[in-house]
Symmetry: D2
Subunit: 342 residues, 4 copies
Amino acid sequence: MIKVGIVGGTGYTGVELLRLLANHPEVSLDVITSRSEAGMAVSELFPNLRGHVDLKFSEPDPEVLARCDVVFFATPHTVAMALVPELIKRGTRVIDLSADFRLKDVEVWEQWYNTEHTCSELFEQAVYGLPEINREQIKPAQLVAVPGCYPTATELGFLPLLEAGLIDPKHLIADAKTGVSGAGRKAAIPMLMAETSGSFKAYGVSGHRHLPEIREILSAHCGEDVDLTFIPHLAPMVRGIHATLYGRLNKQADLQALFESRYQHEPFVDVMPAGSMPETRSVQGANVCRIAVHQPQGSDTVVVLSVIDNLVKGASGQAIQNMNIMFGFEETLGIDVIATMP
Amino acid sequence: MIKVGIVGGTGYTGVELLRLLANHPEVSLDVITSRSEAGMAVSELFPNLRGHVDLKFSEPDPEVLARCDVVFFATPHTVAMALVPELIKRGTRVIDLSADFRLKDVEVWEQWYNTEHTCSELFEQAVYGLPEINREQIKPAQLVAVPGCYPTATELGFLPLLEAGLIDPKHLIADAKTGVSGAGRKAAIPMLMAETSGSFKAYGVSGHRHLPEIREILSAHCGEDVDLTFIPHLAPMVRGIHATLYGRLNKQADLQALFESRYQHEPFVDVMPAGSMPETRSVQGANVCRIAVHQPQGSDTVVVLSVIDNLVKGASGQAIQNMNIMFGFEETLGIDVIATMP
Amino acid sequence: MIKVGIVGGTGYTGVELLRLLANHPEVSLDVITSRSEAGMAVSELFPNLRGHVDLKFSEPDPEVLARCDVVFFATPHTVAMALVPELIKRGTRVIDLSADFRLKDVEVWEQWYNTEHTCSELFEQAVYGLPEINREQIKPAQLVAVPGCYPTATELGFLPLLEAGLIDPKHLIADAKTGVSGAGRKAAIPMLMAETSGSFKAYGVSGHRHLPEIREILSAHCGEDVDLTFIPHLAPMVRGIHATLYGRLNKQADLQALFESRYQHEPFVDVMPAGSMPETRSVQGANVCRIAVHQPQGSDTVVVLSVIDNLVKGASGQAIQNMNIMFGFEETLGIDVIATMP
Amino acid sequence: MIKVGIVGGTGYTGVELLRLLANHPEVSLDVITSRSEAGMAVSELFPNLRGHVDLKFSEPDPEVLARCDVVFFATPHTVAMALVPELIKRGTRVIDLSADFRLKDVEVWEQWYNTEHTCSELFEQAVYGLPEINREQIKPAQLVAVPGCYPTATELGFLPLLEAGLIDPKHLIADAKTGVSGAGRKAAIPMLMAETSGSFKAYGVSGHRHLPEIREILSAHCGEDVDLTFIPHLAPMVRGIHATLYGRLNKQADLQALFESRYQHEPFVDVMPAGSMPETRSVQGANVCRIAVHQPQGSDTVVVLSVIDNLVKGASGQAIQNMNIMFGFEETLGIDVIATMP
């Protein structure tokens, strides 16, 4: 049983952490902070938690947080960087769901997030929490940066092809679609239901913050500079990411076998049978990435379909997967949830 | 560990039974039947079950089914009545999610379902599986009829008022709204997304099959003939029932205290704080009925808001709650799932 | 050709006014104001208007507005009351889509809107713009208060029954459902798509501002004090109101004939054939109220189903209908639009 | 005033033809056929047309149809090919919204539609009804094949680039998303709201029937063989197509100027300002294609965003645009409808 704290629990990744941690047999939820809602019962804000979570939101207090074995940050960027150094110094382990420690190049970070990074000295020690490439480094890590939602779906889809050197790494295309919960729980006219329901659009075409993350991770892992065109879209649904990935094949290979082999021991990557087209609802609420690989019409363009729940494998579920690895629990403990269909 | 069979597992209540039973620690899923899909892997039809359910659909075979400790029927009406007698004779316990054994009056049944009932002799022995009124009778039951979705939400909302004799039992109004999954997984133009999305309508105004069920159960339980106007509506969402119930008060009373007291020991009825207005999403995927009671403007009209997930507390979750009671398991075992929000 | 101005054109009733007025053959759109967006092209905010509306938003200027023949107010309450007196003084006619002039009792207004009314002296002169009861008074009116969306659907549904003295006026029940556009185009967490999609809930149960409006209008028109329980609900769709209305019959009557007769000459009230259940999508984008009347199971409870598009017959379409009447145009001019299905 | 007939009016393109033609000042709607619904009032099936269309469905009768000046076919493929020859022989003009006459290569047609084509002798005379490339040929045409929905959005997006020789024609990528109305009004489990709402998926990855159409048209028009990877997706909305198009640039050019120049005289193609990202709702109900061109991060990959309403510019609106051209009416007559937002 470990003591767990959550900083910033009023957003969608926060409530999803609570939903999953409330049923985790090795977790004692000790503290959840929110400046804006301090004093309010968590279950008043999120009635789905009535009867399951008795905590109240409290002001963030480093003393209190440092008593936890691990603290999750479910905050907008720049919040974690202010608090994490002290927690690290006191020996508390940190799992950051925000973007503060995902990159290794501070100049790139500052350019894309348009602000100064106040503790980039931790970049080296931070481990990028994608278990499918970094499981061994996650085990002893004191600071884990949970991947973004788009990067999770995109990287898992491109990895087998890049690792095998099968596609041109300079001309990747990721046409990605997200549900509206990806924009977070904050008041904004463009995310009103009256603005988004029944409509589909691209956004961030000139440059999305997940682009440098995908580029850096794939380049570092595959040992060659990759480049990609990344076009995110907003789909009229609440949860889910569908990444449609395109690459130019250098040579022929048994792509289905490649993917099955790459992920055969991964508990949370499901390579679908040849010919499959995964739906986002098949992963709704579940910590799994379902992938299918196609070579339409036998052309030299490979198409990978990769779906996740942006709030689970794309955020809170993956964060707990990291926690399980860090604390030596079974990797699937508490997160082996079945998706809800319909 | 008990052996469980499911007859008719290709519908929405079927896949929901599978989602919940796959994680039930005392259940061994032994057989699931479907004439139309015999031979197909369950997880091919329902990819959310990949990695969790390894069964294939098989032809229904009474021999095989009778080896189970309990068999669930997740079938259209008239299917259970043909198979149940043999299973009962062989000592297998049956939990029927269909309408075949919900009523006690065979004439009423035949009038509303417009066909002959072939084993009404089992009506007397069938127990109506609403634990909140019939827990003791459910324990030893060999045949349980799981309530309909609308009746569950409506009866739980009216019960405290009727039991206390506070409202005129002859003029109840139930204005109920359901998501589209209530219509089942069958091809029909009116249930296409292009027909239902973004639109709201009433249906079955002249008479819905859940009307006689509600009328009979409330009358039998409260010891007086009740009558109600029941208007179901189709809301453009997948899951959820919201029943807005109206009654004329005979006398004043502390309605909040009445509801809290009535359900204080019920694990799956959540009386919300005074002034609450429960959302259907707060019960999405969860086996709970959330209820709020109001007396707007201090008038003599009481308004009860009652929400459930039609596929869980309104069907498969409640069916497993009955199973837990019948087999002496903890009543919440395997179904204490937290709703997903957002 | 008349000169038309719009105050507050950045909301949903504003863009709907523009959509309909842009095609109105007798209207010259001269000015549209918005403090927040002054200087921006209307079609930049609302790209559906590209190629159809060339105006820019401007600061509200009484001098400029007074040059119009008629000015529409598509503003939150309290905005019109500040500007209208000057326009009235200068002889400009005003059609107010807000709540500022809908009631006749200033005390009731101030109680429900929780602020002082600064020009209640205009209450007497203001005409409630429901053509189906006030057509003659609308013709010469200088100030028209366009009814609220719920009141339009509710009043049109109850009127034939109350006028005929067929139902108990003290115990009306209106169970009403609206799409999310009813909440307007303003940033608010509860109206995010991630909060509302796929879910259904009641709101404003203790008292909604449309309740006193309905009560006052029905009472004044029918010559007896009516009272009603009014429960609004939020449905997961963008447009549409579905009012399900319940009344206790005092005596039997041919209800279908009553409704058909009452509305036989009304261009924008469509009494559906007996047994119909109108869908909100059948009026999407159209200035029509479709109504069906039922007496389920032959009981003494009458049920009226009344649907409108909240932004058209419930707001902007009805406003233009008033304008047509006021200026002697054919009542249907420019608003005889066919609903879009699917 | 011309006499118009519609064959197969019970689907979504049928009702959309009726919505638009009912307000067309030069059209007299004379006959609408449906084998399955013969005798039923059109407005009974489609209540949005109540008060606007008085026709009844009738059995298709070549005698009656031949009396029309023009007959629209809003039918599944293979229906038109059986009736069209006789109408052509009698001098009636035909606008076919189905796939029967869209291709020029009968072998390709028969391979993709998996059946014999019974009147391919009309292929040569059939004009592909995309006014933006074929306006002059459409004017005198007796038989027009209205383009498919995906092809319309895709071809209009790629045309300026291909005509200018700016991109590699052998490696086009079209990642396209459609609303569910594209599947038509027919009973099918995968198109139920409970199956599609809140979920996103690819389909037809191995080969969609619109692929050979796009390939043939672009090749023929641009004078070189093009090839593309075409991946259609189903988005959880009713109407709309969003095509995200990718091409590899051969040389630099002012892409914004190129697109603006190419479409400057087109009434129904709206090139959005640089940096725009069009939403499908901005064309909802309107006969317009909105296009934006991007070169993200200054790379050599051009990205075109092209949106249409699949039922209007992607089907019925474009069909009427063809009719206007064929009969010498103003091209925008009756179809200059403004999209509905929200």
